[in-house]
């Protein structure tokens, strides 16, 4: 137990130094000194409650998605029946109770009606279910219900694009390093460090993005566009960064376009003929009609898809597009097509988002917390070290050195983990608490050594027995703390998770410093001095 060969000593010191030194950049910065950027400096990330900033939880209402889908389906059915050859007359259309029901007036057309409706439903992801179920009652009444799988997929798509819209909009605010994460089925967490008043952000998330479809003005000359000259009724738009048109300018007709708020969906799919990746878009009924007119009158001409005043794509209109859905093709890979589909979807927020939780902390309050936490830590640590030395003498000094290294190692591990282990306000309490608890292992060991001495064992045996017998209790005691910390991590919100992280890291480092390191020091001292008795 007390045998520490050189390689083992070097190994333990290497571990200790790597982690302990990782804490120094953060501490030096805390003391107000700026490090030169050439020094590699892992930093302890600060949680929003210490760094200051805003945490916002947004929630969407899945029922809104369901009712939108129902509306779209109703329009699609009406249009489909009207356009069928021969036209199919339907009546008694109702969307009550979340399902679409209608009657085919001429019972002999029921099969034809089914042929119209069936293509409007598609498979719902990998579930093998359709996204709508079609039932025919009493011979001629159609009832269309949204399947749960279809609705789930729709909500999932809606949330995915809502998150993207939220991200884009927050980026547009110019805030630094926002974190935007989907949570559960219908929520989005937004953390923005440094934001003092989230009102602007909350307002922004209530707006609709600008997506427009405009005809490209082919009469404009490239040389004129470069000089900023365009024919009357046209305007210049820039290609969006990252698109095929990056760095280019286009002239588009100012009027006669379609606004993107009439787009209800966009998906990456494959062209059935060429098997090329394409983007399928879906307009709402009114937008679909206008899109039909626009394309019928402009076959063969290019139109520009403009998002936030930048052209993301300018495909040719190959044929008139009726029915409110269209395919955008154009040299896509699956990835680029998917990216475009997401961009198109993120044109408008597909669902309203409501702020259901907000927590904003000013940077001043955060700084104040750090300062007070640091003072409490120093005073507590000082008093504790005095108590340890008074109680255990030389062994107390070992404990104190272990304590300081422990503290440094916890901060060092957190610095190396970066954003995975941010320090929060409860986390500071966790640090102080861990320091208080870390001495428990040493107390157990020292008390045990004292007992073994009292039973008449010689110094070396007493020390060996002390470490051996105490280890079991130390292990059991720490496991229960790990259980508590893991549960806290699972159920807790941001700040409390920070606390749980400190506890978990602290448990590991305190066993390492309080048991392994002190044993190495005690062993070195015993071997060197060979004391006949120890004061304990």
């Amino acid at each position: 137990m007390l045998d520490f060969p050189l390689w083992r000593r070097l190994f333990l010191w290497a571990i200790t130094l790597v982690f302990a030194l990782s804490a120094l950049p953060s501490l030096i910065t805390l003391a107000g000194v700026n490090l030169p950027p050439s020094v590699p400096s892992p930093m302890v990330n600060l949680g929003l409650d210490l760094a200051g900033g805003s945490h916002i939880l947004l929630e969407a209402d899945p029922r809104q998605v369901a009712s939108q889908r129902l509306e779209t389906m109703e329009e699609a059915v009406r249009n489909g029946m009207r356009r069928a050859e021969p036209r199919i007359e339907i009546g008694d259309i109702s969307t009550a109770g979340g399902r679409l029901s209608f009657v085919v007036e001429d019972p002999s057309q029921v099969d034809a009606a089914r042929d119209v409706v069936e293509p409007m439903t598609t498979g719902a992801g990998m579930t093998g279910q359709r996204d709508w179920t079609i039932e025919v009652l009493d011979g001629n009444r159609f009832v269309l219900r949204q399947s749960q799988a279809g609705l789930n997929l729709a909500v999932q798509n809606a949330m995915e694009s809502a998150t993207e819209v939220v991200r884009k909009r927050i980026d547009a605010l110019g805030t630094r390093e926002p974190t935007i994460i989907r949570q559960g089925d219908d929520r989005i967490v937004v953390d923005v460090p440094g934001l003092k008043d989230p009102q602007a952000l909350k307002d922004l998330l209530g707006q609709t993005a600008e997506l427009e479809f405009k005809l490209v003005d082919q009469n404009a000359l490239q040389s004129d566009i470069a000089q900023g000259i365009v024919p009357p009724g046209s305007e210049i738009v820039q290609g969006a960064p990252g698109s095929d048109l990056e760095g280019q300018s286009l002239a588009v007709r100012r009027l006669g376009g379609i606004r993107g708020d009439s787009l209800t969906n966009a998906q990456q799919t494959f062209d059935p003929q060429t098997n090329e990746p394409v983007v399928s878009i879906q307009f709402d009924p009114a937008g679909g009609r206008r899109f039909g007119v626009l394309t019928r009158e402009n076959v063969g001409k290019p139109f520009a898809i403009i998002l936030d005043d930048q052209v993301i794509s300018a495909p040719n209109i190959n044929e008139p597009i009726d029915g409110g859905s269209a395919q955008i093709s154009g040299n896509f890979t699956v990835e680029t097509a998917n990216a475009l589909a997401i961009s198109l979807r993120s044109g408008a927020l597909p669902v309203d988002l409501t702020v259901i939780e907000e927590s904003t902390i000013s940077a001043e309050l955060g700084k104040d917390s750090i300062a007070k936490g640091a003072i409490a830590m120093l005073v507590g640590l000082g008093a504790l070290m005095a108590f340890m030395i008074a109680t255990y003498g030389r062994f107390g000094i070992y404990t104190c050195v272990a304590l300081i290294l422990n503290l440094l190692m916890i901060l060092g591990v957190m610095a190396l983990l970066g954003p995975l282990a941010a320090l929060t306000l409860p986390g500071i309490a966790g640090l102080v608490l861990t320091v208080g608890a870390a001495v428990d292992a040493n107390v157990l060991i020292n008390e045990r050594i004292r007992e073994e001495r009292a039973r008449g064992r010689r110094v070396v045996q007493a020390v060996e027995m002390g470490y051996k017998e105490a280890s079991r209790a130390i292990f059991d005691a720490n496991i229960t703390n790990v259980i508590a910390a893991v549960i806290m991590f699972m159920f807790g919100t941001g700040p409390i998770r920070g606390f749980a992280v400190v506890l978990m890291i602290g448990i590991v480092t305190s066993v390492f410093t309080a048991v392994t390191l002190t044993r190495m020091w005690v062993a070195a001292w015993l071997r060197k001095k060979r004391p006949a008795d120890i004061v304990l």
Partner: protein, 323 residues
């Protein structure tokens, strides 16, 4: 060098002799805590009941204009605010519970209005923090908190049961219930805010108060193997006495750091620290006076940790010709 000894060597305090009166007192205290929670109720934070809390500092004033602020916010018509000074005379916390309404965006509007009102009427105000939780989220947080507490107590008790014997698991569970009940009782008594942080504190104190139990239990297990013939109460007393010095030194160490945090630390986590401090007190007490005596009533036998012989073992022994 003369070392400090909080507990003299070789104590022989008869803790177990007074187990019945101690139990009566503790059970009464637990009943009183439950009673206080029922009658006084807990002062739940906005994260459990929904609503908002705004922290503000009046930078250029010595003292916050409490009455004015109260009037201004009353006038908004969301209900009566709870306004307290926190930490300093010019720092306040304004708390508004959520009016009964299913409207999810109501909390958000409340925050906006309170913020605007403060900033318009008091040019020197600095908003330090805003906490707003809708009714829906608060219900979830409360539920998650309760589940987490129950899971932690159960998980830890099961661990002890596996590592020791079922009686020890029950003893630990009872001691935990005792600690949590008394700590919650303290919050009902003082009216300190009971929020999600306090649940985290309860989880922490569960972990730490159990440390003490485990140390004592570990010693009881060791002594049960060592002194087969010793009567149980005597053996328990011996185990508690042997570990007493450690119990006191460790608890003192924790209290030293916690006291520093309580007095000098950030105001925002005062309640959190207070809960853990209380927990260390009652946890130390319960590991000696609650978790240990219960083992007698639960029927721990001196052979609890001796491996049992089954029929096969007996036959094998007889075959070897041993007695």
């Amino acid at each position: 060098m003369k070392l400090l000894k909080l507990i003299p060597d070789n104590t022989n305090i008869k803790f177990l002799r007074w187990r019945v009166p101690f139990y009566v007192v503790s059970l009464l205290l637990m009943a009183a805590s439950v009673g206080l929670v029922v009658t006084n109720g807990l002062n739940f934070g906005v994260d459990f009941v929904g609503g908002q809390m705004v922290r503000a500092t009046f930078v250029e004033s010595q003292e916050a204009p409490l009455a004015e602020v109260r009037q201004e916010i009353d006038a908004l018509g969301y209900g009566e605010p709870v306004i307290q000074q926190v930490g300093a005379d010019n720092k306040i916390a304004i708390r508004m519970k959520l009016p009964d309404s299913g409207d999810a965006s109501l909390t958000d509007r409340m925050v906006r209005d309170i913020r605007t009102t403060l900033e318009q009427n008091h040019p020197d105000v600095r908003i330090d923090g805003v906490e707003a939780v809708s009714g829906k989220v608060s219900e979830e947080l409360a539920r998650d908190g309760a589940i987490a507490l129950a899971l932690a107590m159960l998980g830890i008790s099961i661990y002890i049961w596996v590592r020791f014997e079922w009686q020890f698991g029950i003893g630990a569970l009872f001691a935990l219930l005792h600690d949590v009940t008394l700590t919650v009782g303290l919050f009902a008594l003082t009216g300190m805010e009971f929020d999600l942080n306090i649940v985290a504190a309860l989880l922490t104190l569960i972990g730490y108060s159990l440390n003490d139990n485990i140390i004592v239990y570990d010693r009881i297990r060791e002594n049960l193997k060592k002194y087969r013939k010793m009567p149980l109460p005597e053996l328990l007393d011996l185990s508690v006495n042997e570990t007493l010095s450690r119990t006191v030194v460790t608890s003192t160490s924790l209290l030293i750091t916690l006291l520093a945090l309580l007095v000098l630390g950030p105001d925002v986590i005062f309640g959190f620290t207070a809960a853990i401090t209380m927990g260390i007190f009652v946890g130390t007490y319960s590991s000696i006076f609650m978790a240990t005596p219960i083992l007698i009533w639960l029927g721990v036998k001196s052979d609890s940790f001796v491996p049992r012989e089954d029929v096969a073992d007996v036959q094998a022994r007889k075959a070897r010709g041993e007695a």
